[in-house]
């Protein structure tokens, strides 16, 4: 979706502000949100792209004003309601009002902690060979789905070069919406700054994205 989360190349947000000796969490509740997102993601089968889409769907003004973990909380809340895991009435009441079916993987317990502390593999085999090879010139497609995608706006319609093949991975555009893993070849595609930002861009700068094969066509 062409949401406010897709920030690459936007102006006006100001300088990067670095906090010295930043703590892991600024408030106790931030750690609880992080842990609940990890736990529910793992045991309620909410994949990472479902979770990303829930945060991208936060209204833009709220998204920009909310702290990072508040966005995670809002995304988790909407996901739990959408999937009938927690009722809106239960959020309002602050307690469980009815029994719920067990999660697909049961209660998230101590034995599950190690599993969520290491990323799983997104590699899935596909039957077809990759359409592109390193060195090939490609152009990103001008796609504008209202649904989840990982092709940022600032590279759409631009010509770049395939630098490496990263295997075939779960396709976020499908997985985010419960349409299966639909694995696709994944490439690192490199663009010159001039291609992305026009004449006068810094000639020493190159930018890459990792792009799935459906995002690309031969240049």
């Amino acid at each position: 979706m062409n949401g406010v989360h897709d920030m690459g190349g936007m102006d006006g947000f100001g300088k990067v502000e670095v906090e010295a000796n930043e703590p892991t969490f600024h408030h106790t509740w931030e750690g609880r949100v992080m842990a609940m997102v990890r736990a529910m993601g793992a045991n309620a089968s909410l994949n990472i792209d479902m979770q990303r889409f829930s945060r991208e769907s936060i209204p833009p003004a709220v998204y920009l004003a909310a702290s990072y973990y508040k966005k995670w909380f809002l995304g988790l809340k909407s996901t739990l309601i959408d999937r009938n895991l927690v009722g809106a009435d239960e959020f309002a009441a602050g307690r469980s009002l009815r029994q719920s079916a067990p999660l697909p993987r049961g209660t998230f317990e101590m034995k599950d902690v190690v599993r969520v502390s290491t990323r799983g593999s997104f590699q899935r085999d596909v039957a077809t060979p990759p359409a592109f090879k390193p060195g090939d010139r490609v152009r990103t497609r001008n796609i504008n789905p209202p649904t989840h995608t990982r092709l940022p706006r600032y590279v759409r319609g631009h010509a770049g070069t395939i630098e490496r093949i990263n295997g075939s991975h779960v396709f976020p555009d499908s997985a985010a919406h419960g349409h299966g893993e639909n694995p696709q070849w994944l490439y690192t595609v490199v663009f010159s700054a001039a291609e992305l930002w026009g004449a006068g861009a810094d000639p020493t700068v190159k930018v890459s994205v990792d792009a799935f094969e459906p995002y690309l066509e031969p240049a």
Partner: protein, 203 residues
């Protein structure tokens, strides 16, 4: 954790912040429904507060600086090379800084970051200024960090748009000849592994 809890929106004392109340209520609901064991949530929080942080990545960088065969393996397949030393997620790619090229990592769409190597990302990495500007004006962003590179140095920005994750292998600074891996690891900063800093012989 408690010492980090004195914030600016009434998170302390008996006056609980709105977010603290909302999050506590959600945890109550998830617990009452049998979805989560709160002790397991404690363990996740503790993992990221005490066990996983930039020292994990620093150890890898220091080893790469002192062990050419490991460095070669790391650049060929970082997940595989690091997997021989401990747990690491898949799809990790190490990118090497050289006198000709400097690498910098960003996630313009969200906050993708090599958690197992660097821990949870700092606020600035997840915030709009860094996410918006790095792909368009990386030298300006580096200036915000006090980093200035020769104008002929190639700058390569890696936007983490998929489940690949990037770890910058910074250049070993001069003045560290003969240092042990442990001494070297101590000067490898988080920012140097993102590409927004450079390791210094005297940190």
């Amino acid at each position: 954790m408690a010492e980090h809890d004195h914030d600016h929106d009434h998170d302390h004392g008996s006056e609980l912040s709105e977010m603290q109340l909302r999050v506590r209520a959600l945890e109550t609901i998830l617990t009452e429904k049998g979805y989560v064991d709160p002790a397991a949530l404690d363990a996740i929080v503790e993992t990221y507060e005490t066990k996983i942080g930039p020292r994990n990545g620093a150890r890898i960088v220091a080893k790469a600086w002192t062990d050419p065969a490991f460095k070669q393996a790391l650049l060929a397949d970082a997940s595989k090379a690091i997997g021989t030393l401990g747990r690491v997620g898949d799809h990790l790619i190490a990118v090497e800084n050289t006198p000709q090229r400097h690498n910098i990592v960003v996630c313009t769409l969200c906050s993708c970051y090599p958690w197992e190597m660097l821990g949870l990302p700092p606020v600035w990495y997840k915030a709009a200024p860094y996410r918006s500007r790095t792909v368009k004006d990386p030298r300006g962003v580096l200036a915000d960090f006090g980093v200035s590179l020769p104008k002929e140095t190639e700058i390569r920005v890696w936007d983490s748009t998929a489940e690949t994750r990037f770890l910058v292998l910074p250049m070993r600074p001069p003045g560290t000849e003969g240092w042990s891996e442990e001494q070297l690891a101590a000067i490898v900063t988080r920012d140097s592994m993102i590409g927004t800093g450079l390791p210094q012989a005297r940190p």
